[in-house]
Symmetry: C2
Subunit: 292 residues, 2 copies
Amino acid sequence: MNEQTFYIGIDGGGTNCRARLEDASGTLLAVGNSGSANVMRSVSTAQMSMIEACEQAINAAPVKCALNQVVVGAGLAGANVPSALASIENWAHPFAKLSVLSDLHGACLGAHGGADGAVIIAGTGSSGTRFLNGKFSDVGGHGFIVGDVASGAWLGLSAVQHALQVLDGIYPLDDLTQAVCEHLSVSIPLDLVQVVSGFKAKDYAAIAPIVVALQQQGEANAQMLFARAVDYLEKLATQLVANTHIPLCLIGGLSAIYQPHFSPRVQEHIVSCKHNPEQGAIYYVKQLTTQE
Amino acid sequence: MNEQTFYIGIDGGGTNCRARLEDASGTLLAVGNSGSANVMRSVSTAQMSMIEACEQAINAAPVKCALNQVVVGAGLAGANVPSALASIENWAHPFAKLSVLSDLHGACLGAHGGADGAVIIAGTGSSGTRFLNGKFSDVGGHGFIVGDVASGAWLGLSAVQHALQVLDGIYPLDDLTQAVCEHLSVSIPLDLVQVVSGFKAKDYAAIAPIVVALQQQGEANAQMLFARAVDYLEKLATQLVANTHIPLCLIGGLSAIYQPHFSPRVQEHIVSCKHNPEQGAIYYVKQLTTQE
């Protein structure tokens, strides 16, 4: 490696792909941002998004730099699936070097600056991992609808399922159902079912703020759903940090909402993130490069 | 109407379309069977399935009869959705007459011979309706994944969600998880997620017998899932028959499993079906014809 080497860290999720360009000494030069980079969903889309985000960063940089001078570490959604990881690793990419890990692992390395530690992500989806003695152990996740308990999508779907039972007369009318119906502009089960018929995880997640707001106002059924989410996350956190002294970072749009609800035993582990997932991906590729 | 008029009753679901051909006096002449007739999913497929099932019955009949001599009553999945019902009603069909109602309503009219009564269907899906004073009131249903609580698909999905949490170490290993993993030939979360990634309602429903068998053997987590299903069906049944003396029929692959678990108050209403859904559809079209 010489002075002409640059580093890009990528955090590629289902909707956004962020790139962070640094020089060899670790100085931030520029950032880039593009669309979906989930390699499980589409390897070719992920490749395009990665190149687009990297070119954006390179074009915005105050120094001259080309794709083939850049060592890239990429944390990508779906890279936990071996077949998807293999597809992206076999890519004849235009970079000087490319090392891929899952977006969850990139976030974990970033959060703890490459040191031992755990993360729980609670946003549209949910998942957790820990990095300990050089190894990752994933817990949770698995995606909507089979997993991602306590995620925004899970809260939203649970609220819709509850609302349908209320509209059926199985449970008495409550504020949660009224708020869900208002949000979706429906008043009868048939319309509610039609509106959500094409819903994906992010659409259900858009209902989550309603559940959160009502939970904070003391609405009984919102509190019940929220309590089920907290119960799961407490178990997930315990699974990650039990019998260790590792720190735990909470990441994602719902993390601040959930944080006060963990038990004191879990709270003891919670710290703020040191760096972002893009920096975690740079850390990863630098470690690999050093080992070579 | 003269002697040359025949009647066909159709029960059209998501996978099967059954036709029953009768002469004007109500004597069974022949039956036919074809594929999907869910008008919500595809009106053109439903039309083809209906014609195929009717032609099968006509060709198998001991008397000569043509499509344009046949008065058809059709209970079709998806016909509860007004837009889907309108599409099939606007069809320039080849029959002497066609009257469409939902498959659930056809089943209810058949079960009680056109008299007041309620039905609960518990198979791959779940739903309920009652016919009282000439009007139907639907409760439950709404389809997988937002509704159909206690259905085979619901039991199967719930078992998979549970198994993933067990494989994550969130809950201790149990017989239910082992049985689900054996059924799907998987042993780690990643493989389980991959296997079910394309699963539809019927695929999840194929897991339900595992839950039922373990529930009967006293497995704690299968019993917990089953108890949630029973709790829902009890509320559904109560909603249908409360403050009435109407009889209740249970229909579908899981009905015999659930029947003993209803409360005495619901049990009092339960009777056997008088006729099948095809006969219910014939009853429906005959009633309409009489009224004209």
